[in-house]
C-alpha cells in the first residue's frame, strides 16, 4: 500500500463517520422534546413545573411528528364545575391543531361540554363545563383539557392564560373559585 492510498482510505472513513453521526442526530428523539417540522425538537417549558394547591398550570403531555400536546392541569382544588379561559399564542411559528378531553371534569362518568375555538388568530377560547351541575375535586394534579399545537419554526413561543376563571358547582348555583394562580409555559423549538 502506498502512502497516497492510505490517506484516501482514511478520508473515506472520516466521511463515513461524519455521515453516520449526521444520520443519528437527525433520527434521535430524546426525552423532553420531539422532532418538528424541518427537524425541530419541540418541548414545553412550564412556568411552574411543581404547582401547588389552587393552581392551574401547563405541562407537556406528549410530542411527536411535529406536534406537541400541552395538558392544562388543575392542582389541589375542590368542587370544580367549569373552566373558562383563553390561551394566547404567537401567530407566527405556532398553530393550534386540536383539543381532547382531560380526565378531571369527566370524573364519575358525567358528560362534559367542551367549546374550544380560535375565532381570533392566536387567541384560543376554551370553555368547559360538566353537564348536570355538580363539581369534582382535583386531588393532586389532574388535566382538564389537552391542547395540541404544531410548531413550524425554531424559537421560543410563549403561551399565556387570559380571562381565566374556574367555577365551583355550588350550591346553590355555580360560583367563582377564588385564590387561584394561573401558570402557562413556553414552547421551545430548536
Amino acid at each position: 500500500m502506498s502512502p497516497k492510498d492510505g490517506r484516501g482510505r482514511w478520508a473515506a472513513w472520516v466521511a463515513l463517520a461524519a455521515w453516520m453521526i449526521l444520520v443519528s442526530v437527525g433520527c434521535s428523539s430524546g426525552g423532553g422534546g420531539a422532532i418538528g417540522g424541518g427537524g425541530l425538537v419541540i418541548s414545553l417549558t412550564p412556568d411552574d413545573p411543581s404547582p401547588g394547591a389552587l393552581t392551574v398550570s401547563m405541562a407537556e403531555d406528549s410530542s411527536g411528528g411535529g406536534l406537541i400536546t400541552v395538558a392544562v392541569r388543575i392542582t389541589g382544588t375542590d368542587n370544580v364545575f367549569a373552566a373558562l379561559f383563553k390561551v394566547l399564542h404567537p401567530t407566527s411559528g405556532v398553530e393550534f391543531v386540536s383539543h381532547s378531553a382531560g380526565s378531571l371534569l369527566e370524573g364519575g362518568g358525567q358528560q362534559v361540554a367542551y367549546f374550544v375555538n380560535e375565532n381570533t388568530p392566536g387567541e384560543l377560547s376554551v370553555d368547559i363545563a360538566r353537564l348536570g351541575g355538580g363539581g369534582v375535586d382535583a386531588t393532586g394534579t389532574v388535566p382538564v383539557v389537552l391542547l395540541t399545537y404544531r410548531v413550524t419554526a425554531a424559537g421560543s413561543f410563549d403561551l399565556a392564560f387570559q380571562d381565566a376563571v374556574l367555577l365551583d358547582g355550588g350550591p346553590p348555583t355555580p360560583g367563582l373559585i377564588t385564590g387561584l394562580s394561573w401558570s402557562a409555559g413556553t414552547l421551545v423549538a430548536q
Partner: protein, 276 residues
C-alpha cells in the same frame, strides 16, 4: 262539541239531530251529523238545502246513525233533516231540522316566534261572528304559553288575531318550538283543526343576560348556566327556563345544540354574526 235538537215525530219516534265538531274527522267544508236510531228502520236519508224546510239535496247513508256531509259552499247556512226508511218505504215525516255552517277552516298555519306578541291576519272559511281560536298550550303548571289576546272576525273568510307567545320575561317558561295543534271554533262550538308553527327566538341563546359585559355574546357564561341546569325539568330546583331554549320543559341536548350552533358569535340586533 255538539249542538243538538231532540225532536219527537208524530208517530212517537224521536230523532235527535246534532251538528257536531267531532275530532276524528275535521275536514273543511263538512258537517258531522248524528241521530238516535229509530226502531225498525232499515236506513236513513239525509236532506239538506239553503232554506229552512227546502231541501234540494239528499243522500242515502244506509243503516248508520252518523255521517259527515260534504258541503260545497262556504259561508252560508245549511238546513238539514233526516228521514228513516224501511221495506215499506221512506217516512213521510222529517226529523226536526238543524242548521249551521260548514266546519270553519284556516288556509295557512300561522307562524310565531318565541317571546313576543303577534298581530296576524288569517284567511280561511266559515268564520261566523263568534269564531275564536283555541291554542291549548300550557306548561307543566297549567299556565298558558300561547294566549289569544283579541280577535276580530273581519269577514266569513278572514279574521285578525292578537297572540302572545311566551316567554315574555326573563325566567319565564318558553313555548315549545315546532308544529302545534290549533282549533278554530265557531259560535256554535263547531271546530276545525288547524296548526301553527313556533320558531326559536335566536336572541334567547344568549342565556346569561345578567352580566352586561357578556350580553349579546354567546360564551362561557351562557355555557355555565346551561350546563348547570342540564338534565333538569320544569319544577326541579336546577331548572332554568332561560336555558330551556327549545321550550320543551327540559334542559337537554337540543338546547346544548342551539348553544353550540352560534357559540362565540355576537348579536347584531337581528341575528348571530361573527364578532367584530
Amino acid at each position: 262539541m255538539r249542538s243538538c235538537q231532540r225532536i219527537r215525530l208524530l208517530c212517537g219516534l224521536a230523532i235527535t239531530l246534532c251538528a257536531s265538531g267531532a275530532a276524528g274527522s275535521a275536514m273543511a267544508g263538512t258537517m258531522d251529523l248524528e241521530w238516535d236510531p229509530v226502531p225498525g228502520a232499515h236506513g236513513y236519508r239525509v236532506y239538506y238545502g239553503f232554506q229552512s224546510g227546502v231541501y234540494t239535496q239528499s243522500v242515502n247513508v244506509g243503516p248508520t246513525t252518523r255521517t259527515t256531509l260534504n258541503l260545497p259552499q262556504d259561508c252560508t247556512p245549511y238546513y238539514v233533516a233526516v228521514k228513516a226508511y224501511n221495506s215499506a218505504g221512506v217516512s213521510e215525516v222529517y226529523s226536526g231540522e238543524v242548521s249551521g255552517w260548514a266546519r270553519p277552516e284556516l288556509d295557512d298555519s300561522p307562524q310565531f316566534t318565541q317571546g313576543g306578541q303577534f298581530a296576524v291576519s288569517l284567511d280561511g272559511a266559515n268564520f261566523d261572528a263568534g269564531t275564536t281560536l283555541v291554542f291549548d298550550a300550557v306548561d307543566a303548571e297549567g299556565q298558558p304559553l300561547v294566549r289569544l289576546e283579541a280577535i276580530d272576525v273581519v269577514s266569513c273568510s278572514r279574521l285578525d288575531a292578537l297572540v302572545t307567545v311566551e316567554p315574555t320575561a326573563a325566567g319565564a317558561r318558553a313555548m315549545e318550538i315546532g308544529t302545534h295543534e290549533l282549533a278554530v271554533v265557531s259560535s256554535e262550538g263547531v271546530f276545525g283543526e288547524a296548526s301553527y308553527e313556533v320558531e326559536l327566538e335566536p336572541s334567547r341563546i344568549d342565556i346569561n343576560q345578567s352580566d352586561s359585559e357578556t350580553t349579546g355574546h354567546v360564551d362561557g357564561q351562557d355555557l355555565v348556566w346551561l350546563a348547570y341546569a342540564y338534565g333538569s325539568e320544569q319544577g326541579e330546583e336546577r331548572f332554568n327556563a332561560d336555558a330551556d331554549l327549545s321550550g320543551d320543559g327540559m334542559v337537554d341536548g337540543d338546547d346544548l345544540a342551539f348553544l353550540a350552533s352560534v357559540y362565540g358569535a355576537c348579536w347584531d340586533g337581528a341575528q348571530w354574526e361573527e364578532c367584530p
